[in-house]
């Protein structure tokens, strides 16, 4: 972690993108995109999260592989919990 950090300019650009994406997600919510509203909202949220994680938390250029393993494993475990639970919740009425 003792490498030179990115110049401040990059941070301001990332910040600006984050603010813009916030307004976009709020605005798009008022449009009728059918089922895509949720997908768009979550996609934008994920982009914002990635920007924070990769650039603000320095995962992109100043982290070792183990850090990335920890992050990906945690997210993967969350998805296991959500996904396998859905095996029950989304199939309750099938065949009953």
């Amino acid at each position: 972690m003792s490498e030179h950090s990115s110049s401040a300019k990059l941070y301001w650009i990332i910040w600006g993108s984050l603010i813009v994406l916030t307004f976009v997600t709020a605005g798009v919510a008022y449009l009728d995109l059918g089922p895509f509203n949720t997908i768009v909202a979550l996609t934008i949220a994920t982009c914002k999260a990635l920007l924070v994680i990769l650039f603000f938390m320095h995962v992109k250029d100043a982290s070792e592989r183990l850090t990335k393993v920890v992050i990906i494993s945690s997210i993967f475990w969350l998805l296991i919990m959500l996904g396998l639970s859905l095996a029950d919740f989304s199939t309750r009425t099938i065949g009953s």
Binding site: L66, S73, W77, M81, L84, S85, D88, R92, I94, G95
Partner: protein
């Protein structure tokens, strides 16, 4: 070569400092391990006391010892205390804390102060649990199922829930400490493939602690909120789903059983290698199986919910996954057996417990597969078959492993030898008592005796097996009390232990018994593989034991 004569003034971690402050404010991982040892033993006896009352009640078919509500509290408190305040911490907090740094050649864990904090969190959680017990207990079952726990029970659910919540952070921080230590603080030359399997086991256990415990933490928070604010997230009368609670609860509580068994398996690997004078057969398979158990263990939780109202499709998925999780455990059993083949076996106390583990864990594990079969589960779920199954793996498995570890490393921890004949006698009593207690329960369950029932007078034919079970429990209790007696005796009168009484491999046996505060005078440089038994002479019997 070190002889048995040891100068009494030699400094070690026990005599470095005296006084209660030096213990309560210690950051030495070895002292913290002993603090845990005393605390978990206390909770073991509390949990055991509840078990005794349960078995006394079940001597007769009628509910004549205690009231029905009281009986509900007995099995609840037995479960909560034993699971959360004894089994989950046991090996990691005592043997793990003591040995992990030494085995990898480090001076302490990565975060010694957080280690001490872990113990205080355990004590705080335990104090809340004790308060809940003393003010009347909890009657929801250790599983806290809703809406009984959130809406209907009028017992101390919130206090117990908060106690377990706080205790959970003790677990999380211990796991965090172990992972960082194992990654960052291995001595030069101690590569991953040279690590003792005890370390691999604790690494896998720590992954489970880190990823699973937060889920039960947030679940208990939701239960407390629901109970105090009448929310309705888990209450069907208010639009909630009780199965949501069960999914959240078991998402942790199933992997929790792997927190309980993996460290035991690590102990067994160490003990097996030493008392067969061979390296563990298939080291890589055993190491990878530990990781596999930790990972797969997260995929099977709803096998506790087959008849709870889940969809059939989900039941099918979880049944198949539950069969898969047995595979890495089986791999380990085969590898231990292969280790024994053509080994030079000696039946010291630790080995007796390890052998007991292998047999009893196999029975427990196989009966788990019976339960994973949907059709059979419908017949035996919520009967004593399940009770027998989990006691075979948790007591016949995890506790036997804990006893094996305590007897193996006691000379290192205390600097004293215990009398081996007493150790072997106690192991035998435990084995007999355990089987007599729990094998009849398989039969009872198959015959249809429901679990958590205080009165079985509708089926008086169950009495004979219940009497056998209670008799076994009494014998088992004696078996557990004996080590307390001779371990304490050994601290005063036991022969001083040499550095390596068993002639075992591993860095911990290259330090003095007991170790100094910083474990090593110089950082070890490791150039040998794990379980290098070809190059380690067996101990000469008269030198080793204190008999």
């Amino acid at each position: 070569m070190a002889t048995a004569a040891i100068a009494p003034e030699r400094e070690d971690y026990l005599n470095k400092e005296y006084g209660i402050r030096s213990w309560l404010l210690t950051v030495d991982h070895k002292r913290i391990a002993l603090l845990y040892l005393i605390s978990i033993t206390l909770f073991f006896f509390i949990g055991g006391f509840f078990a005794l009352l349960i078995r006394l009640e079940l001597l007769t078919p009628a509910g004549d010892l205690v009231q029905a509500d009281t009986y509900n509290k007995l099995f609840t408190m037995h479960g909560q205390v034993m699971v959360f305040f004894f089994l989950i911490p046991s090996i990691p907090a005592v043997l793990g804390n003591f040995l992990v740094p030494i085995m990898i050649g480090a001076k302490d864990l990565a975060f010694p102060r957080i280690n001490l904090l872990s113990w205080y969190l355990y004590i705080a959680g335990g104090a809340l649990m004790l308060y809940a017990i003393l003010s009347g207990g909890v009657d929801t079952g250790w599983t806290f199922y809703t809406p009984l726990s959130t809406s209907f029970s009028n017992t101390h659910v919130v206090t117990a829930g908060l106690g377990i919540f706080i205790n959970g952070f003790s677990s999380i921080l211990t796991g965090l400490n172990f992972v960082v230590t194992i990654h960052r603080m291995r001595a030069p030359g101690m590569t991953w493939s040279r690590l003792p399997l005890f370390i691999w086991a604790h690494y896998a256990t720590s992954i489970v602690m880190l990823l699973g415990t937060p889920v039960i933490a947030v679940t208990l928070v939701l239960v407390v909120l629901e109970r105090t604010l009448h929310l309705g997230i888990f209450d069907p009368r208010l639009g909630g789903d009780p199965l949501l609670f069960q999914h959240l609860f078991w998402f942790y509580s199933h992997p929790a059983v792997y927190i309980m068994i993996l460290p035991s398996m690590g102990v067994v690997s160490e003990v097996m290698a030493c008392f067969t004078r061979k390296r563990i057969f298939g080291y890589t398979f055993v190491a990878m199986s530990s990781i596999a158990i930790a990972v797969f263990g997260f995929l099977v939780w709803a096998h506790h919910m087959f008849v709870a109202g889940m969809s059939m499709y989900a039941a099918l998925v979880f049944s198949i996954l539950s069969y898969l999780v047995a595979v890495p455990s089986a791999i380990k059993v085969f590898n231990w057996t292969a280790t024994m083949f053509k080994g030079s076996i000696s039946f010291d106390t630790p080995m007796l417990y390890a052998l007991g583990f292998v047999g009893l864990f196999t029975i427990g594990g196989l009966t788990g597969l019976f339960l994973a079969a949907l059709g059979l589960d419908v017949h035996v779920t919520d009967t004593y078959f399940v009770v027998a199954h989990f006691h075979y793996v948790m007591v016949g498995g995890a506790v036997m492993g804990y006893m094996a570890g305590m007897h193996f490393w006691w000379p290192k921890i205390s600097g004293r030898m215990y009398p081996d004949s007493w150790g072997r006698l106690a192991a035998l009593i435990v084995f007999v008592g355990f089987n007599l207690t729990f094998f009849p329960q398989f039969v009872l369950g198959y015959m249809g005796m429901p679990r958590r029932y205080w009165d079985y007078s509708h089926s008086p034919e169950f009495q004979v097996l219940n009497v056998l079970s209670t008799a076994g429990a009494t014998i088992l209790a004696v078996g557990y009390l004996l080590p307390m007696v001779y371990f304490l005796w050994s601290m005063r009168y036991g022969k001083p232990a040499p550095a390596n009484p068993w002639g075992a491999s591993g860095l911990e046996w290259m330090t003095q018994s007991p170790p100094t505060t910083f474990n090593f005078d110089e950082t070890p440089q490791v150039t040998w593989e794990a379980y290098d038994y070809e190059n380690i002479p067996a101990p000469v019997p008269e030198e080793a034991f204190g008999d």
